[in-house]
Symmetry: C2
Subunit: 371 residues, 2 copies
């Protein structure tokens, strides 16, 4: 069965061909030269070294301006349609590294309006709850509230809606349809929504009453929104937002990105130790059916989510990762052992994260922008 | 030349055939029985007696509920695309009479977002300015701030946007297109907008956490918005809003409603005495080309805006109006005299209005809802 790749802001399906996405979306790969320029500020960066963040638009512009003394700010976010899973953390972790390296401001947008509009089953109360829960996960990563502000589209609607109208006025249904694949059956809120997602890309310019460059580190599926923003923002007198794209952490099932809508193959930051262990131990792998076959023929780390988790988040040491890869290929390691090790690391990580998450409840007020 | 009638929320053109509109929109005429029921509360009401407010939806439901002790509230508004002209005042004057007769709450919505989205040339600053100016005109009519609240969609966006999303989620592009005639070139904000206009029709129910009937006294061109609201609100657990429609005060030119976009044939509440006189004296009339012809053949009050102004606002006495009509028909009165009298009355009315408008600046804060 051939799986068609679908990558839109609302659906990611099939085997992801990143080269094809880069080409289709008109992105640039982060080349050696740009990597070196970033290294000057970030040092040896895990997400760049592993090519987890791998593509961009106008990142050279961001660095040129920065080096001329024209500081950028960061913006990304998440749609609060459920609890945060560990794949969601990647963009926030990388943004934190960028924020610290360049000492810049950072807006995090929680698009509760979007999730209400696009998910039939979600009520306003649901998305408001998940906005709160997701904000705790972000704050748990250790941001500085002086430089980091979280926007809920609903709670900050007075500011957001007014600015979104400026974008909406310049965006025809025809363009929105072409970019997002809307039909006559799409609801009118969904059609309007991308205007809200474009606002943080120029909000700091509005606040400071001058053009300020914006850099958006985001998962590649969100690119269509920022293509629209890049088209319209210059018409309003702002810079085109620059961006840097990452790959998807796969789910624990066979193929596809980790998705909140498949709870058994996604590890949520709120999962307890037992759940984590169960999910990891039940994961699809690149292993053979029996120990004997595994020892004889070896496994396939390329298609194995367990290996991918080490690659994306849980084995920082390249040498150790390489050893894991080779040992798997040679059949020297069995899936059960690999899963146990991953489960141990995720449990440790989330036990700590959950403590920080509890503490975040006391300081969430310092982060949330409200009208 | 045959003029095609166009009546949409954004364009009114040609000779208005009210019977046809009532039929096309699916409205009901206010019949003798309903008139009598209203008279019980309103007494002899000028706007009803003259059939200026002449059509409705579910007005009987509103009265039935009221008589069962289930009070309704009032809602209407205006798009602040320019200064208020005297035609705009009619809906607010009538709403005031309803408010006093039934002792009910009243929301007035100033759709600054709409005017920004639909009028290419208007900036956010422009619509914010006109929101303020228009609010002064409304307040000048003498409302009680305890029972009357003015909503600017921009200033009250935190409340409005959230509620509008509930409507937007249930409204497809296909329906919006059919009702409003949108095309692929329509901007995505305009497509979303009707959701904002529907909010005050259920806002009081949201605030009081129970279903409350809503009555909307409005000029007939706004009916498409409320048809959409009537379709969707019951799906959200609210009553269908009821409504009562009025005719348009004509402009001082030949045909068409008074329109802010034709400043020489519209009398603005901010016009000075000289402007008023000039505009009225330059008005199109139903008179003949020469005094002699006028005396011989008489005039045509039916097509005369000057006569219409007496009819709509400036001659309350039916007997005197009838005399004016007859004298015109018989050629006993000349257009110049008629214009002078109208000019005198409008100047007097606006001189007083302008004083109240100045005073309104001091109390506007009591009326405006803000997040």
């Amino acid at each position: 069965m051939k799986e068609t790749m679908i990558v839109t802001p609302w659906e990611v399906k099939g085997k992801i061909n990143y080269d094809k996405l880069v080409k289709n979306f008109g992105l640039n790969l982060i080349d050696e030269n740009l990597y070196k320029r970033l290294e000057k500020y970030l040092g040896d960066n895990f997400f760049l070294r592993r090519k987890i963040f791998f593509a961009h638009r106008d990142l050279d512009f961001i660095l040129n301006e920065f080096e001329k003394g024209n500081k950028f700010y960061l913006y990304n976010g998440r749609g609060p349609s459920g609890h945060t899973h560990i794949g969601h953390l990647i963009s926030f972790m990388f943004a934190k590294q960028l924020q610290e390296a360049f000492n810049v401001k950072y807006f995090i947008q929680l698009t509760d309006d979007e999730k209400f509009l696009f998910k039939e089953e979600l009520s306003l109360e649901d998305v408001e709850k998940f906005t709160y829960e997701n904000a705790l996960d972000i704050i748990a990563l250790g941001f500085d509230p002086e430089k980091t502000k979280i926007i809920s589209d609903l709670k900050y609607a007075k500011t957001m809606y007014k600015q979104a109208l400026r974008v909406a006025k310049k965006l025809t249904f025809s363009t929105a349809k072409a970019v997002f694949g809307f039909t006559n059956d799409t609801n009118v809120g969904s059609i309007f929504f991308t205007s809200m997602q474009s606002v943080p890309a120029f909000l700091e310019s509005v606040k400071q009453k001058k053009k300020i460059p914006c850099l958006i580190p985001h998962a590649i599926d969100q690119d269509p929104h920022f293509r629209v923003a890049r088209d319209i923002l210059p018409k309003l007198g702002f810079y085109k937002p620059a961006s840097i794209q990452c790959k998807f952490l796969p789910g624990l099932g066979k193929g596809g990105k980790m998705s909140s809508s498949e709870p058994n193959t996604a590890i949520f930051t709120t999962d307890n130790q037992k759940d984590i262990e169960r999910k990891v131990m039940n994961s699809f792998t690149g292993g053979k059916d029996t120990k004997e076959e595994q020892r004889k023929f070896g496994g396939e780390p390329e298609i194995c989510p367990v290996y991918q988790y080490f690659y994306f988040l849980f084995e920082e040491d390249d040498e150790k990762l390489k050893m894991l890869y080779n040992n798997c290929k040679k059949g020297k390691i069995l899936c059960g052992d690999c899963k146990k090790e991953l489960s141990k690391r995720i449990k440790k990580f989330l036990a700590e994260h959950q403590k920080k998450r509890m503490k975040a409840k006391k300081i969430i007020g310092k982060f949330m922008l409200e009208d």
